[in-house]
């Protein structure tokens, strides 16, 4: 029997958390395989070729980053890492190593599922090369072909930089984008002394498209990590 449900690999050493994840994903129409150690996880990855990996960074027998890197050597499949509060550097490193997104413990089901689905969707789009020409979030509409940005029927004029930022976030709709990634893709720079460019332009961008720039509802801040264009 060909089961075309999405296969998820869970790598988590804490048994109660593993049970919860397994139950939740199964309930959400996923097929689930799970492992308790990095070694087991990598072995299951090779043998079963899952569609998505949910990986805890705090594994007892290995560095989560290592696992991400090893998986990335072989596949572009979506990886979502589980991290803890206060460990922003871990998250950024994981994203740099190739992870797609993260959830922070403690997290709720809704947040988890949202991250997984977004990651899967982007992976699928990458495979088919299919990019939505139009992105709609709340009152914001972004036409990537014609380069037009509308907020509640009013056209908004963005500078080239602001547009590039928004476009990149839109291409990663729902996924987190790190400051470094933005700097690299929009400015082509990896210089840490230019890191503030992103923040300065982000503030301007928010003033133009958010109702309340201080309390953004479209582009969310992930402190210490980056930004995320929320999908409604």
């Amino acid at each position: 029997m060909n089961d075309d449900r999405t296969l998820a690999l869970i790598v988590e050493d804490e048994a109660p958390m593993r049970r919860f994840l397994k139950a939740t994903l199964t309930n959400q129409e996923f097929r689930v395989i799970d492992a308790g150690t990095a070694k087991e996880g990598l072995s299951l990855f090779s043998s079963h070729r899952p569609d998505i990996v949910l990986l805890d960074l705090g594994l007892p027998d290995g560095d989560g980053l290592d696992v991400v890197a090893r998986i990335r050597e072989l596949s572009r499949l979506p990886i979502v890492v589980i991290s803890a509060r206060g460990r922003e550097a871990d998250k950024v490193n994981a994203l740099d190593a190739g992870a797609d997104d993260y959830v922070t413990k403690p997290f709720g089901t809704a947040e988890l599922m949202a991250r997984l689905r977004v990651a899967l969707r982007h992976a699928a789009q990458a495979r088919t090369g299919d990019l939505a020409p139009q992105v709609s979030v709340g009152t914001l509409t972004l036409d990537l072909e014609r380069r037009v940005v509308m907020v509640a029927d009013d056209e908004v004029h963005l500078t080239p930089t602001e547009y590039k930022i928004l476009a990149m976030l839109a291409r990663h709709l729902g996924k987190v984008v790190t400051h470094a990634q933005l700097l690299r893709e929009v400015w082509g720079s990896t210089r840490s002394d230019q890191a503030h460019y992103v923040r300065v332009h982000m503030a301007q961008l928010r003033r133009k498209i958010e109702v309340d720039p201080v309390r953004p509802r479209l582009i969310l801040t992930e402190p210490g990590v980056g930004y995320r264009l929320r999908e409604t």
Binding site: R85, P160, V200, A203, P213
Partner: protein, 614 residues
């Protein structure tokens, strides 16, 4: 270096020392010493003592020959310098842990030794626990008495002596009968003493002899002859000569002692200055530096310190081993024009003690600071633990209660609305726990002294992120945020700074009724940004206001509202870790003012144009 010396080895294996002098007997002595050392199976040292002032070059060379012989026979060779042979030898022996001293005793009679005690007697007297082995000299081998250097003095001194005596003679002759012969004797003695005060032994003795001669020839009848008519005058001559000798000897000795005392005083002064300067330096390399400089200046030598792990082989100069607790020092190397004498050694020893003291002091201070830090850490930890356990238990109790009820009493969760409500409470309590945990983590990071990781962040991003953490809880409230558009960016640890506002908002939610507004405003003032947080609630009670930022202070009785007294303390800790300040502000409700310094050369929000992509 008794204070810092390594402990002496057991007596049997202790070193043997042979005292070598210039006499030809020295060769026999050296060989005898070698035999003894071989029998005992112990290492041996051959030492010569040179009085740098008095020993002649010939004597030095003779000693040197003997030392070379000893070296070829396997001895360690040491050249000491000092005025008093016995004292110098004993001093060195103590330093090296010498168990036995071998010395030679000439069989020929020497007046000086008979009068003042020989070197051997002195050694025995001063030696203490050290054995003294005396090797008898071979009969017939005369110990050549070599003149001491410098005792002869320059020809000018003799001239001066002669002139002095001539002057006295002339005065006496001119005075004729008015001065009696006894008084003339006194005048001569005075002249001899003056000569002794200003010159050396040679001219002084010459003055003594000359004065007798002049006295006899010019003043004692029969005049202008050396004949003596009155036998009493002979006695006068003898006594005059003897007294002249004694006076000049004493005067010379006084001069020498005075010079030595002055040198000692000078060294004491140098030591106290060394001490003072050592006290002003904090780090070990600095202490070494001060030591080498000061001691080098005092000894007129190049002084170096070496570590026991890396000895400087082939370096010039004498090496003195040291052992200092808590340091890697192994030896002091002194490169001077000539070997150090006993006084200089004593000075070096005292200086090393000072250095050792300074190094130890440094270690102890650092240790004490560490200990104090550990104690404080422990105190904080235990206080934290008790607070944590109380404040975590309450929400956990609620969660456990609801979860077990739903599990054991199906009727409770039967209808959807009540089930949702119960579960919503569980989620709320869990969120509360999460924020507490986040707070505690931030605090432990701060207490551990972790470096704040900074990046350029606009304040509004921090405030926005904090507000977002509360999602719909803030729905019912009016939130006013006033942050100017062109506010400079700050160098902040974003997650930590966000925690500050999270804590403030959490307090507002906890202590004010629903719907109470929140105001956040900021503006630049000089080199910092002033941020105001205010809620429109009842504000902090009077008794809490004073101690608001102390840990574990709560606005209410513990049972009514859960939550730690750490919240505000953490806020302030985070702000201060960024170099800023946080205080209570005046006004209605709970009001706080934060001040955060703006780093120089930072970007502003209005700088966007310059950063446009090309």
């Amino acid at each position: 270096m008794t204070a810092v010396l390594k402990p002496a080895p057991p007596r049997e294996k202790r070193v043997l020392l042979v005292c070598v002098g210039p006499s030809p007997f020295g060769e026999t002595l050296v060989r005898a010493a070698q035999r003894v050392a071989e029998e005992a199976g112990c290492p041996w040292i051959a030492a010569s003592v040179i009085d740098t002032v008095a020993t002649s070059e010939r004597a030095e060379r003779a000693c040197e020959d003997h030392l070379r012989l000893a070296e070829s026979l396997g001895a360690e060779v040491v050249r000491l310098s000092g005025e008093d042979v016995a004292r110098t030898i004993v001093g060195y022996a103590e330093q090296r842990g010498v168990g036995r001293i071998v010395v030679g005793k000439p069989t020929t009679f020497r007046l000086r030794s008979w009068l003042f005690g020989s070197v051997v007697d002195e050694l025995i007297r001063l030696g203490g626990e050290v054995e003294v082995l005396v090797v008898r000299g071979e009969p017939g081998k005369v110990a050549a008495h070599l003149p001491t250097r410098g005792a002869l003095g320059s020809w000018r001194a003799y001239l001066a002596a002669g002139a002095a005596i001539a002057a006295v003679t002339a005065i006496a002759m001119a005075a004729g009968r008015t001065i009696g012969l006894e008084d003339v004797v006194m005048l001569y003695l005075l002249a001899i003493m003056l000569v002794a005060l200003r010159t050396r032994r040679g001219p002084a003795f010459f003055a003594a002899a000359l004065s007798v001669g002049a006295f006899d020839f010019f003043l004692v009848p029969p005049l202008y002859t050396f004949a003596v008519k009155d036998v009493r005058h002979l006695l006068t001559f003898v006594v005059m000569f003897a007294v002249g000798l004694v006076i000049s000897s004493l005067t010379l000795r006084i001069r020498r002692h005075e010079a030595a005392a002055r040198e000692r005083e000078e060294r004491t002064r140098l030591l106290s200055e060394l001490n003072r300067e050592l006290g002003e330096v904090d780090d070990e390399p600095g202490l070494h530096d001060v030591f080498c400089r000061r001691v080098g200046a005092a000894l007129a030598a190049k002084v170096r310190l070496e570590e026991s792990r890396s000895p400087l082989v082939d370096s010039p100069g004498e090496m003195f081993p040291v052992a200092v607790a808590g340091s890697d020092l192994g030896a002091v190397r002194v490169d001077a024009h000539r070997p150090l004498d006993a006084e200089q050694r004593a000075f070096l020893d005292a200086a090393c003690q000072r250095l050792a003291g300074a190094i130890e002091r440094r270690h102890l201070t650092a240790e004490a600071q560490r200990a104090a830090l550990r104690v404080r850490s422990e105190q904080i930890r235990s206080a934290l633990l008790s607070s944590v356990s109380h404040d975590f238990r309450t929400p956990l109790a609620t969660i456990t209660g609801i979860a077990t009820s739903l599990r054991d009493q199906p009727a409770m969760g039967a209808d959807e609305p009540s089930r949702r409500e119960l579960l919503a409470t569980v989620c709320d309590e869990a969120e509360r726990l999460e924020k507490l945990l986040s707070s505690v983590l931030a605090m432990t990071r701060l207490e551990a002294g972790a470096e704040v990781h900074r990046e350029w962040v606009p304040l509004e991003e921090i405030v926005g992120a904090a507000l977002a953490r509360f999602e719909d809880k803030l729905e019912a409230r009016a939130i006013h945020v006033e942050i100017p558009e062109d506010l400079p960016l700050l160098q902040l640890d974003a997650p930590l700074m966000t925690q500050v506002f999270v804590n403030l908002i959490e307090n507002t939610l906890r202590y004010t009724p629903d719907g109470t507004a929140i105001h956040i405003a900021a503006h630049q003032e000089g080199a910092s940004i002033r941020v105001f947080y205010r809620d429109a609630g009842p504000g902090l009670p009077e008794e809490v206001r004073r101690r608001a930022f102390e840990k574990f202070v709560r606005g209410d009785a513990p049972s009514s509202h859960p939550g730690m007294g750490l919240g505000l303390a953490i806020c302030r800790g985070i702000v201060e870790a960024h170099g800023g300040t946080m205080v209570l502000s005046t006004g209605q409700g709970a009001a706080f003012e934060l001040r955060v310094p703006i780093p120089e050369g930072g970007p502003r929000l209005g700088d966007a144009e310059s950063m446009e992509v090309a």
